[in-house]
């Protein structure tokens, strides 16, 4: 109870917070960044290990030898696909039937809110084909999904071969679903919605004719060459959700067993984690993961499974200029091993971590390791808010005036808050609603209309008549902006805290950029500098910088013009992702972070 009532101890605390505020904030920021950067240093973090008992101890012998057959299937499939100009449904159904699987098809259609110029689609119609291998030893209550998109010729061939090969085995305890989907993510979304009998996104699709119990795990294969040099594993799902680490571990362990090279974020693993170059490499890999996860986009088709509580990864076969290549037999063996081990699962994957960052494939950073970095960053707005609170609660003059002042400031605070959120709402609704009109009146396509009007509203938001308090109040007071800033800082901390739990990377990127600017935002001298700093960390600029950083890190540097093009594309895709798959990053930024940022902008231009 001492802290509740002992004034001298509280005095020490308040003095610490007010006098040492700026140094404390700087220390927190630097410590937060250093902590985060230090996470990539391998000796500091945990080694990967398999937690799941059912997968750790059992041995599996892989006997897959039908590489040639896979290639011949692939050639046949490719021929039929060319003939049909899309998914060769009949051929697929016939082949799956021929292999002794229960084969079904599912048609779906979806009209996008506006044309997707990158993938050139607007009104999408397609058919998914899937075959269920019924397990001889169980009652179809659980299943494993192996999936590929119909663009991946070799992957389709391999899956068909695996289906025929698995058919001859007697040890399956879970049904295996071989899914071949059209229009990649859209097809996957349609299939998953139909499988779970929900309709989240306005997809029109036919009813599934066959199901195989709850899906325990899913592996998506992307393979487009006869031989591969390495595998790349993609883990980031929709909204930054990640699969259980054990699934990644499982894949890596089979790659090791078959001596296949595997990469993450397209970066080869290095064994010299303790040296500087090795550390920089790990840091780059981790930053790439942070940027990808922060974008909230699924980095493969597996990303949609995660929403249904199904652990899933995408595995990409890479064929680069490397000398040593692996043929289909090795690839098939890896998959056989993975499926066999997943078949051994007694319960859903849940033992290992769900919140992690991967600086390499041999080490991982768990939530307990990375959260302190975020907490240090988020303590900056909280410290600043405490400082402001202490300053505000010190009475100025006599009791009476402060009281009336507080009453007035409620109105002056509420107005900017409302205006900023209304701007956010306008930014969310107007571009998509008004795209037709915009495309009629200006020489732009619908997609361009959406993107450009978004940018226009965004910029216009800065120039809105925010400072209504000048009209409402005869004199502009110090307390006004201090209260507004106090509320904004707490709001920011709350938003960042919530989003960091859902998508750590997004929260961290926003915290790194926004917190220092939020801390220094205030009217008075150096206003231009503060305004510039705020502009530099506005959500749109951060997106631009992230795009640049991403391409810099993945070693395909951009020119300024390319970066701008990508920026426009990214906005269109973010809106589409939100409407098509329910990605929350775009609405979160527009409806919450942007208004919060506008409030800071208000604070700077208070006087």
């Amino acid at each position: 109870m001492g802290l509740l009532s002992d004034p001298s101890r509280r005095e020490v605390l308040t003095r610490l917070i007010t006098r040492m505020n700026t140094p404390l904030c700087v220390v927190c920021y630097v410590a937060g960044i250093l902590w985060f950067v230090g996470l990539a240093f391998e000796p500091l973090i945990l080694r990967m290990y398999i937690s799941e008992n059912a997968m750790g101890s059992t041995m599996v012998h892989e006997n897959f030898v039908y590489g040639e057959r896979a290639l011949s299937y692939a050639r046949e499939f490719s021929g039929h696909r060319k003939k049909m100009g899309g998914m060769p449904v009949d051929w697929m159904l016939k082949t799956l039937h021929g292999l002794g699987l229960e084969a079904h098809s599912q048609t779906f259609s979806r009209t996008l809110p506006f044309p997707d110029e990158l993938r050139e689609r607007y009104m999408v119609k397609g058919t998914n084909v899937f075959g269920i291998l019924r397990a001889p030893r169980a009652a179809s209550t659980e299943s494993i999904v192996l999936s590929t998109s119909h663009r991946n010729t070799q992957a389709t061939g391999l899956l068909l071969t695996l289906a025929s090969y698995f058919r001859g085995h007697i040890h399956w305890a879970k049904d295996i679903i071989f899914l071949f989907n059209e229009h990649d993510m859209l097809g996957m979304e349609a299939w998953l919605e139909a499988y779970h009998d929900v309709n989240l996104t306005g997809m029109a699709s036919s009813v599934l004719q066959g199901r195989a119990g709850s899906i325990q795990a899913a592996v998506v294969l992307e393979l487009n060459s006869d031989v591969i040099t390495s595998f790349d594993v993609a883990v980031e799902g929709l909204n930054g959700q990640l699969p259980n680490l054990d699934l990644v571990n499982l894949f890596i362990s089979f790659c090791h067993k078959n001596a296949v090279l595997c990469t993450i974020q397209g970066k080869l693993p290095r064994s010299d984690g303790e040296t500087l170059p090795g550390y920089v490499h790990a840091l780059q890999t981790m930053l790439l993961m942070v940027l990808k996860q922060g974008s909230g986009k699924a980095s493969g088709e597996h990303g949609l499974f995660l929403r249904y509580h199904v652990e899933a990864i995408t595995i990409r076969g890479i064929n680069s200029f490397r000398q040593y290549k692996y043929d289909m037999v090795t690839v098939g063996k890896v998959f056989e091993g993975i499926v066999r081990k997943l078949n051994n699962l007694l319960e859903r994957l849940h033992q290992s971590y769900f919140f992690y960052l991967l600086p390499s494939l041999s080490r991982f950073v768990s939530i307990g390791y990375y959260m302190p970095a975020f907490v240090l960053l988020i303590s900056i707005p909280i410290l600043k808010a405490l400082d402001l609170w202490i300053k505000l609660s010190k009475p100025e003059g006599n009791q009476q005036t402060t009281h009336t002042e507080r009453d007035v400031s409620l109105l002056t605070i509420l107005t900017p808050v409302m205006i900023c959120h209304a701007t956010g709402l306008a930014l969310y609704f107007l571009p998509v609603f008004g795209r037709k009109d915009a495309a009629e009146h200006f020489p732009v396509s619908e997609t361009e209309a959406v993107v450009l009007s978004s940018i226009a509203i965004y910029v216009a938001g800065l120039a809105l008549p925010h400072n209504t308090h000048r009209v409402l109040l005869s004199e502009v007071t110090e307390r006004g902006w201090m209260t507004l800033k106090l509320i904004t800082l707490l709001y920011l901390a709350l938003l960042l805290g919530c989003i960091a739990l859902i998508n750590f990377s997004l929260g961290f990127i926003l915290a790194v950029t926004l917190t220092p600017a939020a801390a220094v935002a205030q009217p008075g001298h150096l206003k231009t500098f503060r305004a510039l700093l705020l502009l530099l960390v506005s959500p749109a600029t951060v997106l631009l910088m992230c795009l640049y950083l991403y391409h810099e890190l993945s070693e395909v540097p951009l020119t300024v013009l390319e970066c701008w093009q990508l920026f426009l594309q990214a906005i269109a895709e973010a809106i589409l992702d939100h409407h098509l798959y329910g990605c929350i990053v775009y609405p979160f930024l527009i409806l919450f972070i942007y208004p919060c940022w506008l409030l800071l902008w208000n604070v700077v231009f208070w006087m």
Partner: protein, 436 residues
Amino acid sequence: MAASLVLVLVAGVTVRAVLFRCPLLAEFISERVEVVSPLTAWKRVVEGLALLDLGVSPYSGNVFHETPFMIYIFHFLIDYAEFVFMTMDVLTAVALYMAVQDFNRITFLKQRFDYESKKYGTDVIDLIRTPKEMCHIPLKVALFYMLNPFTVLTCVAKSTCAINNAIIAAFMLATVKGSAFLSAIFLALSTYQSLYTITLFAPGLLYLAQKHYLFVSLKCPAFWAYSVKYAMMFLGCLLVTTCLSFFLLSSWDFIPSVYGFTLSVPDLTPNIGLFWYFFAEMFEHFRLFFLFVFQINVFFYTLPLSLKLRDHPMFFMFIQIAIIAIFKSYPTVGDVAMYMALLPMWSHLYRFLRNIFVVTCILITTSFLFPVLWHLWIYAGSANSNFYYAITLAFNVGQILLVSDYFYAYLRREYHLVKGLHLKNKAGRDAHIILK
């Protein structure tokens, strides 16, 4: 003043009506575990009604846990449920408004009397409450109740907690007006509804006794006589309601199904309370012991509080309602909203509150984190129950800090009123008062 009250009520009703018109949102809210508990969920009321219509005892099947009165009320009013819940909120707000108005008037008279009879210290003019400051308090209480997001959510979810709150508010009004009989009736109804409010007997009795100028002391026979009278009225009403319930359904099924369910906590659905996680984790043979440990919290503080706050029964009532909201077995945000509505009554304690900023931040943050962690646990599957319970704990710690802060501030103000505001220690410097 009345015009402003009507404005507040209209605003509150409008918000509720708009939310009722968004079926998806209303359904989402009514599924939230923070808003409805097994005891108050509307879904369960509907189920009970269906069973009743089929001629089956509504309590068979272990789904329905409302009292028989409730089911008969909604048997007739099921088509007007939305209207009933909005009316309940309006009634609560009006009752609170009137109760606080009357209480403030009496407080002011008492203060003037004390001041004129030189009971107060010399330099306490800053602490004296003025009519100007007090005149807006009833309106603020009504506002806090009508427009508190917690109350709005409770109403939109059609949680019967709103009805319990209305009864508590009616009890407060009856008590403040000095009507012992009505007060006993509403207390009995409230006890009948939610059991824990039996602890409000003590503040109710103290308030009524003081209202009738009785000397509150165990040595005073008049006080004893009054206590017995009030207790008899209360027990009589309780007996009548219970027997009526029996005649309504002609079975005693409701006793184990409502009160047994409340006390033995068999349903461990997560909520904002402290019970579910502990009892889910616990070994079965410790269960009974810990049931006592957990349940005693609600009742345990009544006696010491009634000794300490003997002269301040209204504040006692506030603290007791808060304690019930924190320690009851199936708390919802509706219970929290009830005592939060009373916070403006104590706005004069502001200068003595120490942690109000931190506590407010904790409460707001945790309220937003509840749905986030629920999503991570139940939908995304990446977090687990520990995450959600951590937030529950933080929320309850916030509430406890809030209540103890107000309690401390109240005692401190009373102390200063008597001893003077600017105390000097022996060395002649400003003295510090420390609670150890």
